[in-house]
Symmetry: C2
Subunit: 208 residues, 2 copies
């Protein structure tokens, strides 16, 4: 234990080198590959790429939106908390409306989860936004439903909810959605706020 | 997509039932098993139990400390953000000192990471606390070093840092530490703030 590495930048360098040596990133364009590397860094699993699905424009569109000052709309406070503010190009607003007083009222009215109800409160800011769903499948299902109903198009959707009930299905629905909005998913049950925040942090800045 | 489940409690019930049907929890005592179930819920991986290491008193000691009002000392804001405040028995203080103004000063002085330096600021509150390291191996290494130097004993250490450089080694060091403090780890590279917060949420309340 005496020889643990204390040099933060060196830990980052060695971590990213290990990831690039072990993970098969061959099917990703360079800009998406950078995002996947950070996602692997956040979860410790080099087999993650096999489950990553993406629209080829997702990194370009997400990064451009952030450079234009787009807000980041998150389904969970942990996702918002994981966004490294100093990487953001325009001090972008990072928003999670789970604790908004309107959310439980809407959830009760609609007979749905608070996570899904909070998405209804995004609608006025959805045009050109970067959406980050890292926890609740119901938030992603509701977002797609609102888009079907005519809600504005976000610039990109990072859809990486985790879990056993609805997670895989919600990510499949995003990947197959006819609106063709640039997306990034981790198919299956894996996902979560750390991977999702890591993807946002990769889109926000090219710095490793 | 039309038939997604909107009933939050029903999603929880089905999720936990799936986990208990698929995961091999046979080697855990009942109180640790409840913690592992919530950790699986947070990451979507039913093979997690194979990597879980624990001291047999960890759930009992961690829960008792929280009922006594112990603070929760976290290495990362995402961990703190993931603790469900309404589950805490005594409105326990949930603390992360990464953003404390003393942290970068200490880190520069000691030539270490901010995550490790922030642990030095825990010392006055460490006696009987519940420690939750969900991100940085350097925080866990530093904690063990301080305990070797005579720092007070926490009631329990949830040590689940993630990643490629030092994560596995730091968790091994915790599991083998001669002080014998009750601990919970996920051996290897896997880990992270979501699993760590889930473990805390399980210790905080028996409610599923």
């Amino acid at each position: 234990m005496d020889d643990w590495i204390k040099d933060g930048p060196e830990i980052y360098r060695r971590s990213f080198a290990t990831i690039r040596a072990e993970a098969d990133l061959s099917r990703f364009p360079e800009d998406v590959s950078r995002v996947v590397v950070r996602m692997i860094h956040a979860c410790g699993m080099t087999d993650l790429p096999q489950d990553v699905g993406f629209h080829p424009d997702v990194a370009r569109a997400g990064s451009a939106a952030l450079r234009d000052g787009a807000p980041i709309l998150c389904d969970a406070n942990m996702v918002a908390s994981g966004v490294t503010r100093k990487r953001l190009p325009r001090d972008n607003d990072v928003r999670c409306l789970l604790a908004d007083p309107r959310t439980p009222v809407l959830a009760a009215e609609q007979g749905t989860t608070r996570s899904a109800a909070a998405v209804d409160l995004w609608v006025d800011d959805l045009a050109g936004a970067v959406v980050a769903v890292g926890n609740a499948p119901t938030a992603l299902f509701r977002l797609l439903e609102l888009i079907d109903l005519g809600a504005p198009r976000p610039a990109a959707i990072i859809g990486i909810p985790v879990g056993f009930i609805g997670a895989a299905e919600s990510k499949q629905a995003l990947a197959e959605h006819p609106a063709g909005i640039p997306y990034l998913v981790v198919h299956g049950r894996r996902g979560g706020s750390a991977m999702t925040a890591a993807a946002l942090n990769a889109l926000a800045s090219e710095q490793e």
